[in-house]
Symmetry: C2
DNA sequence: TATAAAGGTGAATCCGCAC
DNA sequence: AGTGCGGATTCACCTTTAT
């Protein structure tokens, strides 16, 4: 199978083109269906640049569930028996996604909490600061016991203590955050590379094939390349593909094992 | 309405006896025994899950969903417009519970992560240490904007910084853990009082009525009493009720406000 | 050149009342 | 239901500018 490429088109359609039992790892960052209604102002009266993309808007819970069921069915079909899948979400969608995954026969291995070191505060003091996102890590079924998990590597990465399901990671900002020609963020929801690093290091071997059905600006592909893995991306917006391709092509040196094994 | 009492009987039946719009806060720690063991450990079936197994699992999930839908419908009915509900769970059940709550019209305010300081390690090295449980905090609907939230109190409690949705709390062990006459833990899932303290302090006023439909050994009642709130417990096992009643009766002094306001 | 101050920003379901 | 307006409301990190 051809790898290290980005497929342009509808997520579900492209997934259907992939043969059964061929993928080692899937990382999926689907739309969250945030349902934002009003403009939010900071205390200094500037506006918060919220997620206002059309790809995040769904008519109803039912429509969202139908969409997620469809892509998750394909994901389960193409996973190897030794493979696993990670899906990230917030409280807006992760409960629906998790329930659907259970219904489809996925077997939850961990619910990992991305604990944001520098989350955006709750400006109006109406709730607790929303400081996390959730990753659900699943094997293909309860019977696939031989999923890849590099336990010792993650322990070493974590200072010789067993890594827990809580990951302290900063938001993707500054240099790492890709900007458009207008100087603004190129994608509303770019994920930090550290997050993908842990996902890929923990649950793949070298040269494994990693699929990301919501490729965006290509964080999964970039980290896969740096870690010596193969990737397949699916993305419906050509603009994001162009950015991702350029980003990945510009990577010339891989991360040395000493950067992560010995940390 | 009579308060500070424990109702003995079926959770859903007892909930039905409570009038509409009368409860200020609900804390629910439902069971998550989905009866999957017979499926999981069935001999001679270590291959891929077949159709029959998927069906079995669906039946089991379906039963759990029906149960949760029933008690959550009653909870929503009895909540005041200014009230809110907290439900705690692990990855085994919280996704199903969260999805059901959304379907019933509850409005998620936060998903709070109980980050266990001293979780049980994963002895086999097959997964990340499961270090969290999740609490879903909801108002009655998206339109009930006047839910109780003591923002400033929680900020003060948190060292004058906005409290986030991640709570570092120890497991309930040692002195606090109630033991039976055999010296073993009286209840398998007793929650730490610190957890309930934050729930109750953040989302009730003094003298408010707090309902716990899965009362167990009465942590909710104990903390409610110490903080000057009223409680109603529902519990189906008389053994737990006896322990809880004794526990609550033995509380003679309330927590001083200085214990939490000034921390 | 080094340090300090100022400014920008992040998947956000973020107000309440009067008219 | 929609609009308008008074009033209360923020944390950590990064970049840029100033001293």
């Amino acid at each position: 199978m051809q790898t290290n490429m980005i497929l342009h088109g509808d997520c579900i359609e492209k997934l259907k083109e992939i043969p059964d039992n061929t993928i080692d790892l899937i990382f999926a960052d689907p739309p969250y269906n945030m349902q934002l209604k009003n403009i939010l102002y900071r205390p200094n009266n500037t506006k918060v640049a919220g997620v206002d993309d059309t790809w995040d808007k769904f008519e109803s819970f039912n429509e969202y569930d139908t969409f997620c069921t469809a892509w998750l069915i394909e994901c389960r079909r193409i996973l190897k028996e030794t493979g696993s899948i990670w899906v990230i979400g917030s409280y807006h969608n992760i409960f629906r996604v998790g329930a659907i995954m259970l219904n489809l026969g996925f077997w939850i291995l961990n619910d990992v909490t991305w604990y944001k070191i520098n989350p955006m505060p709750n400006f109006l003091g109406t709730r607790f600061t929303n400081a996390t996102e959730t990753l659900v890590w699943c094997s293909k079924s309860a019977y696939t016991k031989k999923y890849t998990f590099n336990y010792k590597m993650m322990k070493k990465y974590n200072g010789d203590k067993q890594m827990t399901s809580v990951w302290h990671i900063k938001l993707c900002t500054g240099e790492e955050r890709i900007k458009g020609s207008d100087g603004k963020k190129a994608h509303s929801t770019q994920k930090p590379e550290e997050l993908l690093k842990r996902v890929i290091l923990s649950s793949t071997h070298k040269d494994d094939i990693i699929l990301d059905p919501f490729f965006g600006t290509g964080t999964t592909g970039a980290v896969a390349k740096k870690l010596g893995r193969q990737f397949i991306g699916i993305e419906s917006e050509q603009n994001y593909i162009d950015i991702a391709q350029k980003r990945i092509d510009s990577i010339t040196t891989l991360w040395e094992e000493s950067d992560w094994i010995e940390k």
